[in-house]
Amino acid sequence: MGANNLLPGMQRIVANPRIRWAHDPQLWVELFVTMNLAILAVDIYIAHSVNHFQKWPEYIPLYFSICAPVLLALVIALRWIWNFLPPWRDIGYLIGWLSILVGLAGVLYHLESRFFLDRTLKSLTYAAPFAAPLAYTGLGFLLLVNRMVEVRTSEWARWVILLALGGFFGNFVLSLTDHAANGFFAHTEWIPVISSALATGFLLVPLVTPVTRRYLDLCMAVMFAQGAVGVLGFWFHMQANLIEPGASLWDKLVNGAPPMAPLLFPNLVGLAFIGIWAALPHVPEPPVGKSWLGTAYAWAGAERQWFPAD
């Protein structure tokens, strides 16, 4: 009896007009970018502590990641609470462009650490992770997409999926080069490489060919697997750091397996989900039966929220 009441009760909450904001994919993308920039501050602090912020440009992403989320949170509040749009648009553009710049400059700086000394695959493996700063570029593009492309269109959804794909491809490169530094000593180090390759492959399809909702179901299943891989990776990295020698836990975290890196997987699952969810209304229902995602979409009343009958 209780269970019978639970689902309708939840449905009422989800469909409540007072939380209409929760159905806005544009807001979710903004929150995703804000949260990621903030987390990057911690990540950068750990990563650049390896060489004690030896060069002053290493502080740029740190300060950027501290300031940008605060500003973004402010303009998001102005936009979604007080319906004041111009600051959200213009500050967002500014942060977006700066973020792209920080990312691209970061790639060059990271390559400079070793790669430009002797341009070999080996030096690329052991250089500072050259693909990592592209996280900023991806986040910057997300801010621009959110402002330059009309939300809830198929194009918007595809751009978001593309950027999630870019993230997973980055994960593929990072997990490959990072684990190559260990010579894939533990076979489990191949898991994120294989997993992110699958994610890249599956997210590529909606961008290059029409897909069905059943395919998007499969995409989400692959994405859930990515989330599990991320959590498993976090556990493995923490375990390795606790076992590894080091003067202190901080020393182990700084010099050991990067604890935050595997969490990129569940993080990107979130972005991919926003894109897939936003793509759903533009993908026809299968002729026989309903897809899992389509059912969830209808249950949540998303169509009613954004495509009212009037």
Partner: protein, 411 residues
């Protein structure tokens, strides 16, 4: 769901995975066939910082045989038994590297070195038994009798610690006792990150210490036919040839290492130069070493790789005649000094009178130079830098002794 979608997804994913496997497979085995992940990471991760901080260190290592054979930074820098450990950016390394780190792979060579005068006796020549354990002293005395149970060098006190630390110890640390219980560091001759056999074969490497008036081997070598030919033909020599298969085709002109250590043409390699030395040439009055006969046979075997037996015997006979003559001259001078001490003319600590220096220079500089010159083919060092100086100082010594006796009212 269309087949096309799944096909594209899986083919793309598979292509990426295949590319990853192929790239990883292309890595040299020496990089990846390591006992732990730390060892795999070591070379690249260490170089990532040190190539910027100390480029030459990484560059020298990359050119070394160690690098070619997959011996990476951690192999040498990991703490050996008894060494102080430090955490270093995720690696546990030794605070100070010693011969203890090299012996992990080169134990027989370390054992040979340990029995040589390059080991503990070298340190004892400056500091006596100070800093040595009784076991180290006994071990050294077993293989090099009279080399270690001795007082510190009489010059260390009047010259003072800074001179000893920056001077004497720079060479004599080749046999310095380490905190981990081992002795010396192999890098004195092989350099640190170069770890080079080529470097150890160069006369200039030995000349870091075997030079100057007290042991002028490099000057003598440079004057000798061996040295002249080396200067002319060093570019034609294969100085980096594998010690196990070294022949006179590689080293057709000898350097110090060729005669004193190398296993040329199948002879036994040794890291104990005493194996081929028949006399204590550096001694005040030279005597035969305990292994005189065997050592002379060993050295003559090396000589025969290039010279006829008659020529070798002639050189040895001539050199031993010079040695005997030098001994006589030193003994004559020594008897003058002993007489001064005996009759009370000369008192006080060593090196407190000019005549002490005259006598010291006589045997320590000129006597040694004369003997080394004779055995190493340095004619000028036998004559002008050796015997002429011996004669001069012998005369000065006699004159000074007579003056001192007159000053003290003795005849």
């Amino acid at each position: 769901m269309s087949f096309r979608s799944v096909f594209i997804a899986l083919v793309t994913a598979f292509a990426l995975i295949l590319a990853a496997f192929l790239v990883n497979r292309a890595r040299p085995n020496v990089e990846t066939d390591q006992p732990t992940a730390d060892f795999v990471r070591a070379s690249g991760k260490c170089a990532e910082c040190h190539a910027r901080l100390q480029y030459s260190v990484v560059h020298e290592y990359e050119m070394s045989n160690h690098a070619k054979k997959g011996v990476n930074c951690l192999d040498c820098h990991q703490p050996a038994a008894g060494q102080e450990k430090i955490d270093h950016h995720g690696f546990v390394i030794s605070k100070h590297l010693t011969a203890g780190n090299c012996r992990g792979c080169h134990e027989p060579i370390y054992q040979e070195y340990l029995r040589s005068r390059h080991a503990v006796p070298s340190w004892a020549a400056v500091h006596g038994t100070e800093g040595l354990t009784p076991e180290q002293v006994n071990f050294a005395e077993t293989y090099q009798p009279g080399s270690t149970k001795r007082p510190p060098n009489a010059l260390t006190l009047p010259e003072g610690h800074p001179a000893v630390a920056a001077g004497c110890e720079q060479c004599h640390a080749v046999g310095k006792p380490n905190n981990d219980g081992t002795v010396g560091t192999c890098t004195e001759c092989h350099s640190r990150h170069t770890t080079s056999v080529e470097l150890a074969r160069l006369p200039t490497t030995c000349a870091q210490c075997h030079m100057g008036p007290d042991h002028s081997q490099i000057e003598i070598y440079n004057e000798s036919k061996h040295g002249v030919m080396f200067a002319a033909q060093r570019n034609l020599l294969k100085l980096n040839a594998d010690p196990r298969t070294l022949t006179t085709r590689d080293m057709f002109v000898p350097t110090c290492a060729t005669c004193h250590m190398s296993g040329i043409n199948g002879l036994k390699v040794t890291h104990n130069p005493s194996d081929r030395l028949s006399w204590y040439l550096a001694a005040e009055v030279s005597t035969k070493r305990p292994n005189y006969l065997q050592a002379q046979i060993n050295m003559k075997q090396v000589c025969t790789q290039c010279h006829t037996q008659a020529a070798i015997d002639r050189v040895y006979t001539q050199a031993e005649l010079v040695l005997a003559s030098t001994n006589e001259k030193v003994l004559a001078a020594k008897s003058i000094m002993d007489g001064l001490h005996k009759d009370g003319t000369l008192t006080g600590p060593p090196f407190s009178h000019p005549i002490d220096f005259t006598y010291f220079n006589l045997w320590h500089y000129d006597g040694r130079t004369s003997k080394h010159g004779a055995f190493m083919g340095g004619a000028d060092f036998v004559q002008w830098h050796g015997n002429y100086e011996l004669l001069l100082k012998q005369t000065e010594l006699q004159h000074d002794a007579d003056e001192l006796r007159r000053e003290h009212g003795r005849k």
